[in-house]
């Protein structure tokens, strides 16, 4: 998307933009149609699977903001995903067990309200991303990849070794947290809620990409030296993007915890960071809907191939290799035509 994303407004060149938008609409409607269809036919498991896709797409959308638009290869986004998950788990744990989280300065007993949990999770994710980003952004290239991975693993091992919230065994959430006016335990209602959040997040990112901030962010991906020479410090732009990205991925983590009604250190593991990267590569890095396309394809293949062979990841690896070698624009690039340039 990148340049095309931003030119869309005044100078949009008909055909290709329209095609990308059709692909995006098809992806969104496909997800919604799949979820509703599964619900109509009583396939509750498939509704849950579609919900999982939507949640992972939100997490990937967070990563896409820094990777696709800003060019930062973060290999530690599981940190924000897991922190969001633990935020949901810990707040619910205290509320459900009637054990105050803290008593000073005011008594706080935790909460089972999703909107509150989301806000806290996003704040935690943003704060962690601010600290990790401020340190990591001093480096570039492969060092940046390694330092984000290192921070992610630090938090992973911290979660494993801290017994208060389950340590290695994880932390169950006995009853899915609530949202005013909805029965979140009903799979279709939770699905609709998650899809609404996904569309809101994608809308937010589309807006950011077209803004002044987005222009500078995409310039930082292409040429930091040039950005400096027009008076804009890339570090500040990238850090703000990193913080927003961390908040979005943490929101996804909180939803994922509620989906599984369980939080474990595996949400923080580097495998998950890798999966998020794979979603984007599959979908087409820098494309607005890449995380949805990638997560959808990944989960579908996991579900379908996983039934055929325990070694489904081998076949998946072949697919990934094919995409990297022959379809650099990913699924969306393949369907909508490549970027005009770059």
């Amino acid at each position: 998307m990148s340049a095309a994303e931003i030119t869309a407004a005044p100078t949009g060149r008909g055909g290709r933009m329209a095609r990308a938008q059709i692909v995006n609409a098809a992806l969104a409607l496909g997800l919604i149609g799949f979820g509703l269809g599964a619900w109509a036919t009583g396939e509750t498991f498939l509704v849950t699977l579609a919900t999982k896709v939507a949640i992972l797409a939100i997490a990937g959308a967070g990563l896409n903001l820094v990777l696709g638009f800003g060019g930062l290869v973060s290999f530690g986004h599981a940190a924000y995903f897991g922190l969001g998950g633990y935020t949901a788990g810990i707040l619910a744990h205290h509320a459900l067990n009637y054990t105050p989280m803290f008593e000073w300065p005011v008594l706080f007993e935790g909460t089972t309200s999703m909107p509150v949990i989301w806000l806290v999770a996003m704040a935690v994710g943003a704060l962690a991303a601010a600290v990790i980003g401020a340190l990591s952004l001093r480096t570039t290239g492969v060092y940046f990849i390694m330092i984000t991975l290192a921070f992610g693993q630090m938090i992973f091992y911290f979660a494993i070794s801290w017994p208060a919230y389950g340590g290695e065994d994880g932390l169950p959430i006995y009853v899915r947290n609530g949202f005013p006016g909805l029965n979140t335990l009903d799979p279709i209602q939770f699905f609709v809620l998650v899809v609404a959040l996904l569309l809101a997040v994608l809308g937010l990112i589309a807006m950011l990409a077209r803004s002044r901030f987005g222009l500078a962010l995409q310039a930082a991906r292409q040429n930091r030296q040039r950005l400096m020479a027009v008076g804009i410090r890339p570090g500040g732009v990238l850090l703000v993007a990193f913080v927003i990205s961390g908040a979005i991925t943490a929101l996804a983590g909180a939803l994922y915890a509620d989906l599984n009604r369980f939080v474990s250190p595996s949400m923080l593991s580097w495998h998950l960071s890798g999966e998020l990267l794979v979603f984007l590569i599959l979908g087409g890095t820098g494309r607005l809907f890449a995380p949805l396309a990638g997560a959808g394809l990944y989960i579908a293949l996991e579900h379908l191939l996983g039934g055929v062979s325990d070694h489904w990841q081998f076949f998946f690896g072949l697919l990934l290799l094919g995409v990297v070698l022959f379809a650099r624009g990913g699924v969306i690039g393949f369907l909508a035509g490549g970027r005009k340039h770059g």
Binding site: T7, P10, M207, S211, Q225, L227, V230
Partner: protein, 249 residues
């Protein structure tokens, strides 16, 4: 004589035992093109980078409009109106011409952290950007991706971006490099007009262009300024002929 816009005094920079910049003093006055010439490895690019703030000097001082630039980084200097082009064209290659120049207008405005309005519908940025594009002679090429521009056009795009910074001075690092005769002539005419917008410190290897365009020339050899004067004085300077021009004659 008018106060210099750029005033450099006693600038020095060493890389290990190598003195890349050795007690350099020079200035740039309103309305002039001041060319900086010298053999390869003379330290021209190192000097430009110290002026633009990409590397820090070891000693000496750089003043812009009388104000010391110590502690001001490259982005800060750009916002003060120090407009730079690079030896190897440096633009955002995936962006269109218009996006590149809008980015520069936005940088000069100092308001980057705005997250809501679409930037490419912001008349406060678009109108000045189109104006700069026209002045650089790129009208009609606004929607072409920078990567698809011809070499000479990319040079013009850098000039348009420099104009967008509301420049107090231009730092142009070999703008003619890689251009054909005709391209160099067109760009030369463009630079000739620019000096009235803001003075130009011009690093250039094309001696025809240097002697045709410049009001003053400084010769840099092994990091030292060995001569400064009008083009005629420089041509006649025996020291310059020996160390530099002689190589080409």
């Amino acid at each position: 004589m008018a106060d210099p816009i750029l005033d450099i005094r006693g600038l020095s920079k060493s890389f290990g035992a190598l003195k890349a910049t050795d007690d350099v003093s020079l200035d740039l006055r309103p309305g002039e093109i001041h060319a900086l010439i010298g053999p390869n490895g003379a330290g021209k690019s190192t000097l430009i980078k110290q002026i633009s703030g990409e590397i820090a000097q070891d000693a000496g001082e750089i003043r812009l409009d009388g104000r010391s630039l110590s502690g001001v980084d490259a982005a800060g200097r750009a916002r003060l109106g120090m407009a730079r082009s690079f030896q190897v064209s440096s633009v955002a290659s995936e962006f269109t011409v218009l996006q590149n120049v809008v980015l520069a207008v936005q940088g000069a405005s100092g308001a980057t952290f705005r997250f809501f309005r679409p930037v490419m519908r912001d008349a406060a940025l678009i109108d000045p950007a189109r104006d700069c594009i026209a002045q650089a002679g790129l009208t009609g090429r606004e929607d072409v991706p920078a990567a698809a521009l011809a070499h000479g056009e990319r040079r013009k795009l850098e000039i348009a971006m420099a104009l967008a910074l509301r420049p107090r001075l231009f730092l142009l690092d070999e703008p003619m490099a890689g251009m054909g005769t005709e391209g160099a002539r067109v760009l030369g005419d463009l630079l000739d007009g620019l000096r009235h917008r803001a003075p130009i410190l011009l690093v250039e290897h094309d001696m025809d262009a240097v002697f045709r365009l410049s009001d003053r020339v400084s010769v840099l050899v092994y990091g030292r300024v060995v001569a400064t004067g009008t083009p005629d004085e420089i041509r006649a300077d025996p020291e310059v002929q020996r160390v530099y021009l002689g190589e080409e004659a």
